[in-house]
Symmetry: C2
Subunit: 728 residues, 2 copies
């Protein structure tokens, strides 16, 4: 076991050290001319200001939740929550900082070398800092929680619900602490995603609605007062938001598996299936070991790209190369971890207690199923959203028939795309369950995310390149520079769609295994785990739960629209009051736009973010745990569909528009009627794909985690059971 | 019991006789001038032609399903299916015929009297024929099934699964026969709704896309070649489609309660809770009696309006008056039926076996809860879609900011609107279950639809008035006539939204009680009914099931777009090749447009319609009954959300546009930029609210009924159980 801890520490340390190395390696590159430095600094200042403000709101919520947690459960869970929040906050902050350093250096590198390969390297090195921070900080936090609370304070040794706190509530200590850790990560992710998502889309829509549609100036034109805000948005939404989101998914997948293990152990004790404490310990270690190996594999993958002297002109091949090296190594070496841990355990006991049907390799097979389903889901997202394939091309053609048919067709595309992805998910659940029981389902989620460092690095490369293009445009660099950054950016769009597929796929699986732990937490030990949809309370919960993701999405869209509207009137005001801006004789006031965007985002993000915490707890106290069980399953089901729908419809509209811009449809280019229709589609799709879709997976996971943490309380104290005691 | 049968026959007879009376009363009214007659006849010929063609496809499907049903279950079920199809087909046909007679007579009455009240009376008399046919034919079919198969052939006496057919499958005969009847109604409804929905929206979008947007001519302008097709669409979609839809809901709600009763009886036998055959018989009679009373109450309500010498100038008040009389009388007299049937039964036995907690009045309370929730859901639909309230007004204001924000805002409105409706539904389920057990939930669905005749009459009045306006416009009648029909039509829009609320609310409840019967059909008697979401097969089914309504909706939208596209190019061709059309010197070719619309609808309707039959049966044979259980629950949950979303978003876009047209927003009227944006919203919303939304509730009910009917087969023969037998 010492060896495992050494591997864990080594993996986390390696990741963070490599992140630091890349951070400084990027930072020491030249920034380019004065104009470029000026713009980059404006973006950096704007991004920092937003995160500063956002984190202030966040601190309050985190401290509040921590205090409540300490009171109703135990202080260790509260401390773990703070650790989780700190880790997630750090990853977001560091990743965003490097993105705002890297962007200008990417445009400068493109300017100096005029070479795609050399430019890709800088962008990817910047992105890798975010990727390594996500993996590194998540593992560091897990390590601290595991060693300090688990080993040192002995929580790992308490394997039944013998801990009774001063309120008389009993629960198993380590799963509760780990839930606290996961919850901390989730809350930060929620605020970063929602706040960043509103910010970025409000700025983007605001800039486009006036700039492109009314003033007819191109994207990122320095005359548009909202351009700086738009570029700030890429950093706070697509970098910081994405980073915390995937960190949360990563931690959620790992901890849901561990939490589940305790309940399996308790079940086994009651049913006499012979699961020993040693097996329990191994089940806890397996995901930790697997992701540590994945982490090391990702470092190798990243290094394999960065170490190359010359990169090819095809960034997609290079980036895919790094990811495939990471994924392949993870699967290969993961086999070892499964074999090392479980080979000397009795296969019959493993089968009876955990449902392992393939002996010691069972959890590895489940994790590998996760990797494969993740890749397939990503490929499906690409199929539906890339202009290389029929669906998006047909959508682009519909633009020739006007805005109404563009929207209609896009809605239909998004709706149709749910089925195949769901079939893959369902197949993943059935097969991973067949090979490793419910533990297998959470291991599939864990597997899907085990090489998260590589995918986040690739994902972050996208917005950095996008920003680099913006800086090139705004500082008036020669067209060739913009061409290079556009090539980089186009690849980023596809990788982003794939990344979203991973996030929702793993999110759904992790939510399901959290859900199982939730049910175990108040289920009588030794009885079958049942969430019976045919009881009226569960059914009512599922119906209300099904409406929740729709309500949440509607609120988010409204929030974006509201914030975008403020931006629109500010841009219009500037154009009206200072006509010199459009002639280029006067400089627009970027700062007001930046502050409008962040004020709008901060004002609008609170309500939807709190929904995921307040609703399960509130209804839990009113209607009891069965209702909440229904609530979670209803929300999860509907959220999966909505997230796929939003991601694919939005992605297809965006790429359909780009397809028209690059001349994919003869006779229809920029400025044509078809292009205007496509811009309407893109504008509608923006909040769907970049705000709603990515927030939905965090939403369902926060709901499950919060319910899990609060269940000991409301399972005992709730209105329905109070009333039924009263009347009986 | 003889008394009950007399009431049932009397109610059905009364309804059909009154329908016949109103039919001929309308038909003998004068048709107006030659031009009006000519146009009306073109619409009538088009509508008849479509239904003729559609019914040919339908016959094939019905006969095919009947043959399969006869082979795998029993011939009685197949005959009942044919009866159901015949009843539903007749209701749709007669209702549509009268609508195509009434439309021109309404415009003529407006022309002759220049009086709103007198015109309303004709339109409502026409609508009442559809309403009375829906109730009358449904009851007639139920009566035949009950008397012929139940009493005469003795199926009612067989109360356990002692019937074994030649394939060795056993089931209870009467529920199977009744399921066959319900399935017949559902399949016709599906084809009428899907076919009619595609037809009407293809014509409508086709007419609008070229007429309003390109040629800038008003709606229903005789120069637009697609106008006749558009008006035909109102009759086949909004009249025939709506009628079969609500007939199906009505029959589904009644029969799901009766089918459930048998399973409750079997359970009771196994658990020894003392439910007698007499109670079983009363549980079967209660919904039949209740809807018969509702039928008579509706006749009184309708007569109360038609008997008035003079109607007021406010059609809404008059129509609401008729509905309230019907609903009030139904609730009041329904009390009697509950009391008469159950008063001499032992309350303790009723409680133990059926979950009646309020003695003999329990089922009545459940039905009344249904009525109240139905009314509240209808009011919520009005709140979200009527321009009298904030949501739609705010949406109309967003139109000033362009098409993109109009769409975005409408999506958000639709998404947000799900929650309150779902809370009402959930509360309805919990309370009706608390008072009458699972039987209560189906009685709530039955109650919601017990005065369906009144609501369908009011609903059909809408498209008749709409058509009357079209005829007035096309035959160049004076503006005052159009004003009168517009007043009538505006009220129709609101009543339509309310009607949709009823349809989806009752659809969800009926699907749930069918689902329970489904589960009972292969559950071991005497054990608790469980649909455990925590088994991988159920979960996988629920995920795939959740994606189904999205796939179905996407297919429908694509179908409408495809058919609309053909219409657009035909209209463009006519304008291009015969420039005289736009000058008014040449007559457009209406016929080609009509035939394009119906060919498009017929070609596109097959695939989505068959989905609801093929998927549950196919997956049942592959993955067994648990998977299908998950499939139904997942589909039902997601379909509820999508139907509410589509109905409310679409309704709000439509009425937001109308609000702008009537000068609701200062400075923005017809022809303004805001109006163009609102037209985009309306065009996007059209297929959502008139095709997708209404089809979703039929979709989930067909799925549940088909699964229920096929379950004896695939519960015994399926791939999963075959494989597990093979490997064990």
């Amino acid at each position: 076991m010492q060896l495992m801890i050494v591997i864990l520490v080594f993996a986390a340390g390696l990741a963070l050290a490599y992140a630091a190395f890349n951070f400084f390696a990027v930072k020491k590159l030249p920034e380019g001319n004065e104009r470029m430095q000026e713009i980059a600094s404006a973006i950096r200042v704007g991004a920092n200001a937003f995160l500063d403000y956002e984190y202030r709101v966040l601190y309050l919520v985190i401290v509040l939740v921590a205090v409540v947690l300490a009171v109703v459960t135990m202080w260790q869970a509260a401390v773990a929550l703070l650790i989780g929040a700190l880790m997630s906050g750090c990853a977001g902050l560091v990743g965003m900082k490097i993105a705002t350093y890297a962007n200008v250096r990417v445009s400068n590198r493109a300017r100096e070398t005029q070479n795609i390969g050399a430019t890709v390297k800088v962008a990817f090195r910047g992105g890798s800092v975010m990727g390594l921070c996500v993996g590194g900080f998540a593992l560091l936090g897990l390590f601290v929680t595991y060693v300090v609370f688990g080993l040192w304070m002995g929580q790992l040794r308490v394997t039944d619900a013998s801990y009774v706190n001063f309120l008389g509530l009993s629960f198993i200590p380590f799963p509760m602490t780990l839930s606290g850790y996961a919850l901390g990560c989730s809350i930060v992710a929620m605020f970063n995603r929602v706040g960043g998502g509103i910010y970025t889309k409000a700025a983007d829509m605001g800039a486009d609605l006036v700039g492109k549609t009314e003033a007819h100036i191109p994207e990122d034109d320095p005359r548009n007062p909202a351009t700086i805000a738009d570029n700030v948005g890429d950093n706070v939404g697509d970098v910081a938001g994405l980073g915390s989101d995937l960190l949360e998914s990563y931690v959620g997948a790992i901890s849901s598996g561990i939490i589940l293990t305790y309940h399996m152990f308790l079940q086994s004790g009651a049913l006499g299936t012979g699961m020993t404490e040693k097996i329990l310990e191994k089940c806890i270690l397996f995901p930790l070991l697997f992701v540590s190996i994945g982490m090391i594999a990702c470092c190798v993958g990243i290094a394999s790209l960065l170490a190359k002297k010359r990169l090819s002109e095809d960034p997609r091949r290079e980036l895919n190369g790094a990811t495939y090296v990471a994924a392949g190594l993870t699967i290969l070496l993961g086999l070892l971890s499964s074999w090392l841990l479980f080979r000397d355990e009795d296969a019959a006991v493993l089968k009876a207690s955990l449902g392992f049907t393939a002996g010691s390799l069972s959890p590895w097979i489940a994790a590998a199923i996760g990797v494969v389903s993740g890749v397939v889901i990503g490929m499906l997202a690409e199929l539906y959203t890339s202009a290389d394939y029929q669906p998006t091309r047909r959508l682009a053609q519909a633009a020739e028939e006007g805005a109404a048919l563009t929207i209609t067709q896009g809605l239909a595309l998004g709706m149709r795309s749910c089925m195949v992805t769901c079939i893959v998910l369902a197949a993943g659940i059935v097969t991973s369950h067949a090979v490793s029981g419910m533990y297998g389902v959470s291991m599939a989620a864990m597997g899907m995310l085990s090489f998260v460092t590589a995918t986040v690095s690739v994902d972050t490369y996208g917005p950095i390149s996008d920003n680099a293009g913006g800086i090139a445009e705004m500082s008036g660099l020669e067209p060739r520079v913009r061409q290079i950054t556009d090539t980089l950016d186009a690849v980023g769009n596809t990788t982003a769609a794939i990344g979203k597929g991973f996030a929702i796929g793993s999110g759904a699986l992790a939510a399901l295994s959290l859900m199982i732990s939730y049910l175990y937490s108040f289920n009588e030990v030794g009885t079958d785990l049942i969430l019976n949809m045919m009881t009226p309370m569960v059914l009512a919960g599922a119906i209300v739960g099904g409406a929740l993701p729709f309500l949440f999405s509607g609120m988010l869209i409204d929030a974006v629209a509201k914030a975008a509207r403020k931006m629109v009137s500010e841009v219009r005001r500037q154009f009206r009051e200072r006509p010199g801006i459009l002639d280029g004789t006067e400089k627009p006031d970027y700062k007001t736009c930046v502050s409008i965007s962040y004020q709008g985002a901060l004002a609008e993000m609170k309500l939807p973010s709190l929904l995921s915490i307040v609703v399960p707890v509130g209804t839990g106290f009113l209607f009891g745990p069965s209702f909440v069980g229904g609530l979670i399953i209803g929300s999860t089901l509907v959220a999966i569909m909505l997230a796929i729908f939003c991601g694919n419809a939005g992605g297809a509209w965006d790429n359909g528009k780009k397809y028209i811009e690059t001349g994919g449809i003869p006779g229809a280019g920029k400025g044509s009627e078809a292009h205007s229709a496509a811009v309407v589609g893109d504008t509608v799709g923006d909040p769907l794909k970049d705000t709603v879709g990515p927030c939905l997976d965090i939403f369902i996971k926060i709901m499950s985690t919060v319910s899990l943490v609060a269940s000991p309380v409301f399972a005992q104290y709730n209105l329905v059971s109070f009333l039924s005691r009263l009347f009986s």
